[in-house]
């Protein structure tokens, strides 16, 4: 059996490192996995209800309280404009996470469609689609975002569009490889002999058995996309001041970072924690979803 797909992951070792079980291949859920799932779940929850949890108005400027250190009133302190950082982190989670999810969702859908078409559509279709992918892959997200910002004005929307447009070719490539591997599997041939229609063959037999590596990749990419969005906001082409978005918050606090550490620490921590959590969940999913990995042997 022999055909276990080597899943391209950027940090496949992180989970093993943390769980200290060289090659935890059994898909056993460890403490670290539960913690990561918890944090990731919390972040998703935050995206839904974060703004309602904020103890204060995240936009209320109070210059008298400017740069108050963390204390009993402001748990995470305030920024240069005297806004409560805890409230801004809670509210900003929604912006950051929703933007990330939007990028990944759009890129996944386009990538799956293009990748599947390339794998099953014959040589000419494959050739054309892959050349388009090459073009997409050669464009850096930052450059596209800067271009779009120039054309449409800098906004979170243009950052999301730019990122999705540069992100899908990677998925298309991955899906193409995965589908090509599955399309010649014996169970697909078995379905062909049975007389299963082409649509059903793709939807029921090929894709479900191809895409688990894609899900893993997207989960792992959550952290990468989030960092890029925050980065774009940081350089000024993403979310605009005074919007509470984690990257934008750090950007706005550039000048105060040295004297008032809390202005960058807490949004930075939120980004790091979410990124690590999703990374770990991705690793966990990778082992969990692959039936061939789980049964071992075959």
């Amino acid at each position: 059996m022999s055909t276990t797909t080597p899943v391209p992951t950027r940090s496949a070792g992180l989970r093993n490192l943390l769980t200290r079980k060289g090659g935890n291949k059994q898909g056993h859920t460890t403490f670290v996995d539960r913690a990561a799932l918890g944090v990731a779940g919390l972040m998703v929850l935050l995206a839904l209800v974060g703004p309602y949890l904020a103890p204060m108005d995240p936009y209320a400027v109070d210059l008298a309280k400017s740069l108050t250190p963390p204390g009993s009133e402001h748990w995470m302190g305030t920024d240069a404009n005297g806004r409560d950082i805890l409230s801004r982190v809670l509210a900003g989670g929604r912006t950051t996470i929703l933007a990330t999810v939007a990028v990944i969702a759009v890129a996944t859908v386009i990538g799956t469609l293009i990748g599947t078409a390339a794998a099953l559509g014959g040589r000419i279709v494959d050739e054309i689609l892959m050349r388009i992918c090459d073009v997409g892959l050669s464009l850096p997200a930052i450059v596209v975002a800067l271009g779009l910002a120039a054309a449409m004005g800098p906004s979170l929307q243009s950052a999301v569009i730019a990122l999705a447009a540069t992100w899908w070719p990677g998925y298309a490539r991955l899906v193409r490889t995965l589908v090509r591997e599955t399309r010649d599997a014996e169970f697909v041939e078995s379905a062909r002999v049975l007389g299963v229609s082409r649509t059903r063959l793709v939807l029921r037999h090929v894709l479900p058995n191809s895409l688990s590596a894609l899900y893993v990749q997207t989960t792992l990419d959550v952290s990468a996309v989030m960092l890029v969005i925050s980065g774009l906001s940081f350089v000024g082409v993403g979310a605009q001041v005074p919007a509470s978005e984690w990257g934008a918050m750090i950007a706005a606090s550039r000048d105060t970072a040295i004297t008032a550490w809390w202005t960058v620490l807490f949004p930075g921590l939120a980004i790091a924690l979410t990124a690590i959590a999703f990374n770990l969940v991705g690793d966990w999913l990778r082992v969990r979803t692959d039936p061939t990995l789980r049964t071992g042997g075959r």
């Binding site: 059996m1 078995s190 002999v193 049975l194 007389g195 029921r204 479900p208 039936p291 075959r298």
Partner: protein
Amino acid sequence: MNTAEETPLLEARNLVKTFSGRSGTRAVNDVSFTVRRGEALGLVGESGSGKSTTARCVAGLLHPDSGQVLIAGQDVTRARGRALRATRRRIQMVFQDPYSSLNPRMTVADLVGEGMYVHGIEPDRVRRRDRTVELLETVGMGSEHLDRYPRSFSGGQRQRIAIARALAVGPDLLICDEPVASLDVSVQAQVLNLFGDLREKLGLSLLFIAHDLAVVHHLCGRVAVMNSGRVVEQGDREQVYTSPRHPYTRALLDAVPVPDPAAERARAAGRGAVHTQNHHEEKR
């Protein structure tokens, strides 16, 4: 009017299949055979003899370069559309490796029921499930397995599920590509017995591809021997096994290990002289 009786269920006429790349070697070269209703034809040969490629051409998984496959007289290499699907249904296939021939994400009920669903044989969900239970019983499995996934079954059980899946569309002929090659002898015995039962109960015809001459002898009344893409000998079981005409068949039969120490010793003694000169035959 028994012309229908006389048309063979399956006929392969001068099949040729060449794979590109390998300097155009013909994997299957002018292969012809027939399988009559209720008959079991064994296709034996060593690896690379073209027996699997032949099976896949007959099953419609490969398109032959030339030649025809006729199912009950209808040429399926030319046919298209609905008529083709209806005819194709009459021939089903069981694959060698039960670990890769079942979709790991479908339950037993879905796997066995799929054929009935896609061909509209049993559109009703409940009735389909009842029929699935019947089919599982036919292959010697209980209905308690309906909602399980392939991974929880042993190789022999998976092969039974694969057989039930093929039987669900009511085929007249089953192509079996080394269906017991990856099973332990004891499980192999169970599956071979099952094939025997199915032939008796359902009047099923078989095109049985195997490298194991003893297995083919056990199951098939007629045998075709393949070597380098060609059928070198074809005939009734008795004739092929007891008085093989082609030297290749003889060599093949002579090499089969027999689970009988005395017979093996006698043969080794007889072979000694012949064998020393054969040593240098097998080159690249």
